[in-house]
Symmetry: D2
Subunit: 346 residues, 4 copies
């Protein structure tokens, strides 16, 4: 067994990491840290975890983490990872960071979108972007993994085969995305108050969502161009689930079946991706609780647009599951370890 720490364990990403690692065959959640909840039992905060995790949240002390753990998952807000990652790395702890702090290669872009200075430029080059289906070659042995955001995960998976193959125009992509409320985290606020959300559907942070530059960075790598993304996220009255609907202008005529074949070929060996038959679209319900990404494809031949829809669970493939998948690859474990369990159908 490999002992790991979860930093920021009581948040939703941390709690999902706790759940997944509690059933992982090799990784053992040995330290669950939280400044806010230090001293409380995990099972008191989350009764669902009580039978599985007999532990108390502790202060996030890097030296203590290094003394006890080989790997640390960071499930913290941005800037918090900037603070703790350097100390952990120096102490030879592998860092799997689920925050935004090491995703953007250009610190100026980070500083523009996040409005704070990036204080660890030197680590940006080393950080490996943790979307295995995009590029898993750099993950084995990596010291620092920057796991993607939930929206970039779904969007990059949706757009990559079309851009890589050149069937679609690479300089501009329109992405209309929708997320359940757990994407906003565990801290209550006016925008996540039940009566304000229920029976309410609305876009938010239109043209200003911080996942935009991350999507553009990823898609530009794929297209070889400076890809502009029009990205419009919406909040949907459900707890879990994220759907990205990508609109890609076709450079050539292609049938539904050909597009499906293209995507299936690209994702042939991927253990977590299903490309549906032409005519079938994914729902967030069918991936709820799992690390899977389900993709549906339709060609709008009349308009010359390829519509690709990718459904994920924002807290699993969108966050915690992906972090475990990356850790598995970093540590040379089976990629699906701890992530291959069937989930409820409703």
């Amino acid at each position: 067994m490999i002992d790991v720490a979860i930093v920021g364990a009581p948040g939703y990403a941390g709690a999902e990491l706790t759940r997944l690692l509690a059933a992982h065959p090799t990784l053992r959640p040995a330290m669950l840290t939280s400044a806010a909840e230090a001293g409380r039992r995990v099972g008191d905060v989350y009764p669902a975890l009580a039978p599985f995790v007999d532990a108390v949240y502790v202060e996030p002390d890097p030296a203590e983490i290094a003394a006890r753990c080989r790997v640390a998952f960071l499930a913290v807000p941005h800037t918090a990872a900037l603070e703790i990652a350097p100390a952990l790395l120096e102490a030879h702890v592998t860092v799997i960071d689920a925050s935004a702090d090491f995703r953007l290669k250009d610190p100026a872009v980070y500083e523009h979108w996040y409005g704070v200075p990036h204080t660890a430029h030197d680590l940006l080059a080393e950080a490996v972007y943790g979307l295995p289906e995009f590029d898993r070659t750099q993950l084995p042995g990596a010291r620092l993994v920057a796991c993607p955001g939930c929206y970039p995960t779904a969007t990059i998976l949706a757009a990559t085969p079309a851009l890589e193959s050149g069937i679609a125009r690479g300089d501009r992509v329109i992405v209309d995305a929708k997320s359940g409320v757990s994407g906003a985290g565990r801290t209550p606020g006016p925008g996540t108050h039940f009566p304000a959300v229920h029976e309410s559907l609305a876009p938010y942070k239109v043209t200003s969502h911080r996942h935009t530059p991350e999507i553009e960075q990823g898609l530009s790598l794929v297209s070889g161009l400076d890809t502009r993304v029009v990205f419009t996220p919406h909040l949907v009255p459900m707890t879990r689930g994220l759907l990205a609907t990508a609109y890609l202008e076709l450079n050539e005529e292609i049938s539904d079946a050909e597009a499906v074949t293209l995507y299936r070929t690209r994702y042939r060996d991927e253990p977590f991706i299903t490309v549906h038959d032409a005519g079938r679209m994914p729902s967030t319900l069918e991936v709820r609780g799992s690390n899977r990404a389900h993709i549906g494809i339709a060609v709008d031949a009349r308009a010359g647009v390829l519509i690709v829809v990718c459904a994920i669970d924002n807290l699993v493939k969108g966050t915690a599951g992906q972090a475990v998948q990356c850790a598995n690859l970093v540590l040379d474990l089976p990629e699906t370890a701890g992530l291959d369990l069937p989930v409820p159908v409703v």
Copy 2:
């Protein structure tokens, strides 16, 4: 008072018409027809209506309607309006049709998308499209009004000022739309079964939804071009509400504030439209139960795309409220009669 009939009264559109007309100052719901529920009391089917409507559903007999009512609202599935409208018109009953049967001017387009023959070609020219904000000039005195579908209502309201003014490209518009489940009507089925819908978000009828040609017909009139619409509807786990997010490619640079001004100017005198300040987006909750359309606007200057979001209640401005609004105009009543009540905020 003017006596009116509601044909297909127990469906959701019919029930909303019943609710609205029960509080209307001039129109009185004198006959509520239904082949399926004939003989049942309205209040037994809908206890919420019991205190307001002391009536029994009756068979939809055109002669009886003509004998008792001056106006008939048709809240029936497509093809059913084709069957009953001619007899009603011949008997001098004004027909406000909420079905799809008279929306498309070209019967070949109807037959292509609906897969059935159109049996009343002669009435197509006469039918007035019932979206007052689009064009209300033909409504006064009309004999036959074809009320728009819910998606076309929101989409045409979202796109018209941009296309009319020429600031956006008119030959292709991308519309990502989302609707609550009541849009599927009152008849249960696998796609509206609670456990299958709750916590589920999914697109449906991608590239094949029957509202596509109706949207194209409307936007082509506005743009003066043969507008192609990429239209992707999604089902959202909520009962009411519809949101259309339109992506319009800009022909020129424009600021958020200028775009807002353009929309406000276009909709200056509209009693049911609010154009939000730049930076504010509408939610379906804020129009729930009302006949209003709330519009939010953002310019994605980086990509040259105008994003316009229109929120309506699919059963009110999307169906029953709009039908009442049209009837008011046809009958020279105040346009807002029966439609100007504040709605719950949650």
Copy 3:
């Protein structure tokens, strides 16, 4: 028109009062006060109200209220009404208090359950309990009305005919109640955070909910005994609606039909109460948005227990609607003024 103030206007109770009064034929919401939101436009806080209320929230100054309004609705937390009501009454403003501060006749009981001193003992005797169906005789001309809590409203309506008539045991009543989340108000917190509530059903404040003594006070009056209430509220994942299921031990054999007749006789002249036929139970959906209380009755003959279920909208008959109903009676307006509009069926 009579000008009225709403104190605490941006909370859910205040917002519902605003909505109802905006459509009231005689009462006009002339001042909307809020310490927290003073200076903000009503329509910015609640876009749904924007077309109907062109006003700005102002500081709750009693002198200003007295100068401009004849009636003040208090939609404030407990203790806040204790602070402001005396000044308003002294300035000859009629006070319709939706808070808990004047509901309990015995200040010691208030102090026990609320944990704070009651600072206006002298007003307790004068305060009229505002549940018209229970006793409306004292309301005309009252200076101070204490509107009941949402749970007491549903429970007292459910139990009164059985206790009054003596068919059921009056010394102990079991009430299992369920409420939507809006009952917790507009302020976000861990217990109203969407992901924590959705798909979650749980009891709360078992044996300690503050509505318990209020229910006991009401039912003791009816039964003539010292009625003990076992009261267990549950939080249900919906925004609106409250259901009280009362279990009353029968003193005698009675059929379903006889029980229905007993209830219908008791509530014969009530404009807002429906007693369903035997075998039909009410749902919260059928009263959503309305001031109605719908009651269903079943006799469990095997166990000698009468089961009475009362469904209300917690924000209307449970709060704001009831306050308007009381104000109508105080001011000698028609009891149903502003409260007789049909509501959506879904």
Copy 4:
């Protein structure tokens, strides 16, 4: 590995069995039968299961089941188990029946409540009631297990320690129960139509629910009396989860802490039961997807009533998980095999 069949596999109980068995260390779902879906791929009906179950639904032929499987789970409506169980048993297939057909020991009671004749009286004596926490001694080696209904499971777990110990009156128990919509199964109908259920809470089958005699049978065994149960189920707008709130009249004074100790002692060795600390109540969310039963306890000392709340997932501990738990015991496997996985916290 032991090959098992699931009869009625595409229903929700069957689908949950499929999910649980797909991850079971010893039981292998070798045959999935369904008359209605025969010939369809499992993954086409449930995309969530596609990656885990590469199978096609087949006709439910007892001979074929006997040829291939040692155990058959029956996830069928009542009467269907009566038809198939005898043939399976004769062919030496162990039957774990999740239907109602063998739960009630007295066929006259079955015939009274279900309105159909019981055609396998001889098997009733042999059938072992499958609630291990109630009595697991007869399960090892059993040929026919009658798994309890979802409501009886939660109710019997809630009431047993109080009745067994004699602290509460055993001749009458009041149970107010609430269930998510998946309890109604996979077949759509007016009562499970999304718009009819959402924002709706209502009791159903009051005094007539078929789980009543089953609860009475169980509690009478525990109390040694002829226990009458007042049982009122409610439908709650959520997919999963069941909460039973039991009201038990105390024979003696007891503190919260003593009651908790009594329950903890009774359930000391139970792997799936948590008795919460006094003052903490369970939610359906905390057991969602798991085989656990969480119990909360409060003494209403003023009224002499013990309130016990039991939360389960109706499809797991209430159906499929319990069936697996029973099969584990029948086959002498670890009781928790396949049932010990942590579940998502939201």
